[in-house]
């Protein structure tokens, strides 16, 4: 079933895109991540222009995360204050991201930059997650309870001026720390089309030292609003959001997310984390190989 994408200017097989959205949605439901880190590269491999892929995948991440945010809000597992600070940071980040995006596009290096960012971010986070998850798995096998990690924030966070209380997170820290984190994830969202959950979650735990319970909910809360902002920013600047593409992806991912959520309840979290780490690493390796392999197209056309 071929469908013409009016912004990407090419026709694609609708079922492939829906299926792709479904797989990503399934994973995002299982692991509580947006899944944008999978959508953008998969769309690029399929032949969608990188800018359209990044812009439309941000729209898809927004749709896939909204129902989880609602349920987290209902269960009160969101630190709204923390989330709001990060959203403000995310907006600033999206603004900075827009400028970087424009600059790199003008230099003709946006594709390489996106690919390099993917390799660096996914590679390092994937290794971190794999290390953590495998250790937890071995401990669970041996029947040893993992030692409770001492919860404390990074010394740099303590050095920042101004202090606010974040009750659900159990923190009394400078709001500048989550603000900076938000800015960073906003830039990533704009450039990579990811929600940034795979960066936010570990950063909130290891750098801010948040209590674990509100981490996922707060991260999703921030992702929801930042992807909204980036969708808007892309619509206003790059004009690269393809509504038809996003719609097809959404059909797949919103259903996939529900099924994934179901699965996650019946599988042990240790296994889930190992699996997620592996997927992240596979994407990073594939992107790295793609940079080194001789590309199919040596030449690319950009309109003036």
């Amino acid at each position: 079933m071929d469908i013409y994408l009016p912004i990407a200017n090419l026709s694609v097989n609708a079922l492939v895109i829906i299926g792709l959205g479904g797989v990503v949605g399934l994973l995002s439901g299982m692991f509580g991540v947006g899944g944008g880190f999978l959508t953008t590269p998969l769309l690029i491999f399929y032949g969608i222009p990188p800018t359209v892929a990044a812009a439309s995948s941000a729209t898809q991440v927004m749709g896939a995360s909204v129902s989880s945010v609602v349920s987290h809000l209902a269960r009160k597992t969101v630190d709204v204050r923390m989330g709001a600070v990060m959203v403000v940071g995310g907006m600033i980040g999206a603004g900075i991201g827009t400028i970087i995006f424009r600059l790199l596009t003008r230099l003709g290096q946006i594709d390489t930059a996106i690919a390099l960012l993917y390799v660096a971010m996914l590679g390092s986070i994937g290794l971190l997650m794999a290390h953590e998850a495998i250790r937890a798995l071995i401990m669970a096998r041996r029947g040893v309870r993992p030692p409770a990690r001492k919860r404390r924030h990074h010394p740099l966070v303590a050095a920042l001026p101004l202090r606010w209380r974040f009750y659900p997170s159990g923190l009394y820290i400078s709001p500048l720390a989550p603000l900076l984190l938000g800015i960073f994830s906003g830039i990533l969202t704009m450039l990579m089309g990811v929600g940034g959950g795979f960066v936010l979650v570990p950063a909130m735990i290891y750098i801010l030292g948040m209590a674990t319970q509100p981490v996922i909910g707060t991260s999703l809360f921030q992702i929801l609003f930042v992807t909204m902002v980036t969708t808007m920013a892309h619509s206003l600047t790059t004009h690269a959001v393809d509504l038809v593409l996003a719609f097809l992806l959404l059909i797949g991912s919103v259903t996939g997310a529900q099924i994934g959520g179901r699965i996650s309840m019946s599988v042990r979290p240790e296994y889930l984390r190992v699996l997620l780490a592996l997927i992240v690493l596979v994407v990073a390796i594939r992107m790295a190989l793609g940079l080194g392999w001789r590309p199919d197209e040596i030449y690319t056309v950009a309109l003036q």
């Binding site: 729209t59 896939a64 995360s65 003709g108 290096q109 969708t231 509504l243 030449y299 950009a302 003036q304």
Partner: protein, 263 residues
């Protein structure tokens, strides 16, 4: 002096008679295309255009040596930057680039025989017959070798995308007077006015040429989306947000209902 005047007079006479001869003897083309407009709809996967027509010879007499036909379908030209990747420090990055001020977005050529057998280089260049004869107007000051390398790169890229097509020998001529050619229009074409040019060629010379225009446009929904995305970014963004959020909420609601029923 008298000799000179006589010579000029003779030359003028000759020229005049030749002109008159050419006028009376020049064959004419009556071209047409299967579609004057191509609509890009949601199910658009490309189109096939039929370029056909008749060759009218003066007095209806066929020449002894049959003439040949070349048809060219050309899309609107764009000013582009063409970038070339090179392997630097182990990875492929855009290194070199060139600006072409008039690169056609689409170019398809078909002929009754290979073009290099029909016309010489110069004629081919004048009428832009053949992919390697496109007038790309490079804007940057580069040497010819470099320009040729980039032009070859552009041709190769667009050929594989189906945007540049060369089909020598695919024009059929029936009884020396009716010709037809099919040219594929890729799904990746841009909108705008396309020209379908037909050339009648004999003995290395273009005897007649005729042009028909074809409008390629997006219609209805596709046009609306394109226009909105370009001109009303804010509304477009809002619509995208509303669609994404409501789809997400709807799915959550349905799943909640389902699990409530099941549970």
């Amino acid at each position: 002096m008298r000799a000179l005047i006589a010579w000029i007079a003779m030359a003028l006479l000759l020229l005049g008679s030749q002109g008159a001869l050419a006028q009376s003897a020049a064959p004419q083309l009556v071209p047409d295309v299967s579609q004057r407009s191509v609509e890009i709809k949601f199910s658009f996967t490309g189109a096939e255009l039929l370029l056909f027509g008749a060759i009218l010879y003066p007095n209806g007499r066929l020449p002894e040596e049959p003439a040949d036909i070349i048809v060219v379908l050309k899309g609107p030209s764009q000013s582009i930057t063409l970038r070339e990747k090179q392997k630097i420090a182990g990875i492929w990055v855009n290194a070199d680039s060139i600006n072409f001020r008039s690169a056609p977005t689409f170019y398809a050529v078909a002929s009754s025989r290979p073009i290099d057998k029909l016309v010489d280089e110069r004629t081919a260049a004048i009428y832009e017959l053949g992919l390697n004869k496109l007038q790309l107007s490079p804007a940057s000051l580069s040497n010819t070798q470099e320009i040729d390398r980039f032009a070859a790169g552009l041709n190769d890229l667009n050929k594989r995308a189906g945007l540049y097509v060369e089909e020598p020998g695919s024009v059929e001529i029936t009884d020396g007077v009716l010709y037809r050619a099919r040219l594929p229009l890729s799904a990746r074409v841009v909108t705008g006015t396309y020209t379908a040019e037909t050339f009648l060629v004999q003995n290395g010379r273009v005897l007649a040429a005729a042009v028909r225009e074809i409008e390629v446009h997006k219609s209805g929904f596709e046009r609306l989306i394109g226009v909105f995305a370009q001109e009303h970014g804010a509304i477009y963004g809002l619509v995208a947000i509303v669609i994404a959020v409501s789809m997400g909420l709807f799915a959550g609601l349905v799943a909640g209902r389902v699990s409530a029923v099941l549970g």
